[in-house]
Symmetry: C2
Subunit: 242 residues, 2 copies
């Protein structure tokens, strides 16, 4: 019998090379807000998502048919682009069947760093679907927090704790990773009220300043659940077909 | 009036460039065991400590008069060196007035990375002395966890939480750093019994395997307190003179 499957948590893109092996399932997390946006867009019928790191490259898609180009830097939408990084913008029928080209400060960077692996994206919106996806596979798992400009952030780490805890509570997983243990401890301290727990976190303060409290509330406690797992294939995130 | 002094926590050497500004007080932490060893050695009368990253360079000091050369890699002492990385080895009169040349897996790397700053080393052995040192200065503070081979580790993060919490409870400090918030939350979950809390941590398991449980107990809950703050001057850690 095979050993149990390992769970690791990577707290930031700067640490990713320490975990990268080309074999693991990498679950990219950017709770505020890229991976919450991606889940929301899929739920509202987007066909696929091209996650791009550079603004210049994203700009090339402007004006293309059936293409929505969205850009965010430092938590703000950028002028001249169709959409920004708020999940509410994607809750409409206009996006159905289209391609979303998305560039953000942290999340799209993480997706691209991990591209030699099996990459899926997760958020509180599709938490259960991601758990089921992972349980039905056999690879080790890396939960990859997008962080903030290369550094640790609180919200992604809390999500990593929820996911690690859920997987470790089933029989087939183990962890010898201090980041996983720490994220679980943080999640247990926070889970009764994530919103209040994040009150003093750095990114929540950034969004508060920009009047994005409704976005934060939605991303931490979504009003719907999505059973779609976005998976990276040939450079595009598409729905994973069960 | 000047703004409050900022406290940041850096969880690993890989993240240090994000915090480095040449101005902060950098408190280097390697609880298991380099900075605990350094505190212990000063308490037992060592004159100064040269923290060296490479084994080759440390080797050059072998045979020098009044010099103790100590080397550790992957938690094990290395053959051919006078001392290893256990604090108990330093609790003797032989070390009095001598220079300790020390190279370890993580701690000595962190000390060298930070050398353009005001660098002090800390552990549970000299916790209060370090608090007082910091309070008597004016610079911002970075608590720099040595981690494990570039990655986050639990024990240094717990220490960072204890120190951040203590400083933030006095009037002159503030933090907008998620790593500091997280470390405080972890410390509060762990503080009633650090030893048990670390039961499943990765490095504790390494030391357990190597029969170094007494070292771990001492480093988490030292049998004496030192009022010495080691500070880096001209490439050597010396006692800070009050």
């Amino acid at each position: 019998m095979r050993d149990k499957r390992n769970i690791n948590v990577c707290f930031s893109p700067e640490l990713f090379p320490l975990f990268s092996d080309g074999k693991k399932i990498v679950v990219v997390v950017d709770v505020l807000r890229a991976t919450s946006v991606i889940s929301t867009a899929f739920q509202y019928g987007i066909k696929d998502v091209i996650a791009i790191q550079s603004l210049e490259e994203a700009t090339k898609y402007k004006g293309e048919e059936n293409c929505i180009v969205a850009a965010e830097r430092n938590a703000e939408a950028l002028e001249g682009f169709d959409y920004g990084n708020s999940p509410f913008q994607y809750m409409n029928d206009e996006i159905k069947g289209k391609t979303l080209v998305l560039t953000t400060t942290n999340g799209t960077r993480a997706i691209n760093m991990a591209r030699e692996h099996i990459v899926i994206t997760s958020s509180f919106v599709n938490f259960n679907a991601v758990c089921n996806f992972i349980k039905n596979r056999e690879e080790d798992v890396l939960i990859f927090c997008s962080g903030w400009k290369g550094n640790f952030n609180m919200e992604d780490s809390l999500f990593a704790g929820k996911l690690s805890d859920k997987l470790l509570n089933s029989d087939n997983f183990q962890s010898n990773c201090d980041s996983a243990l720490a994220s679980i401890s943080l999640y247990k301290s926070a889970k009764d009220d994530l919103f209040s727990y994040l009150e003093n976190s750095a990114h929540r303060n950034r969004l508060k300043h920009l009047n994005m409290e409704p976005d934060t509330r939605f991303c931490l406690s979504p009003t719907f659940e999505s059973d779609i797992v976005p998976i990276l294939k040939n450079g595009k995130l598409i729905r994973h077909e069960k």
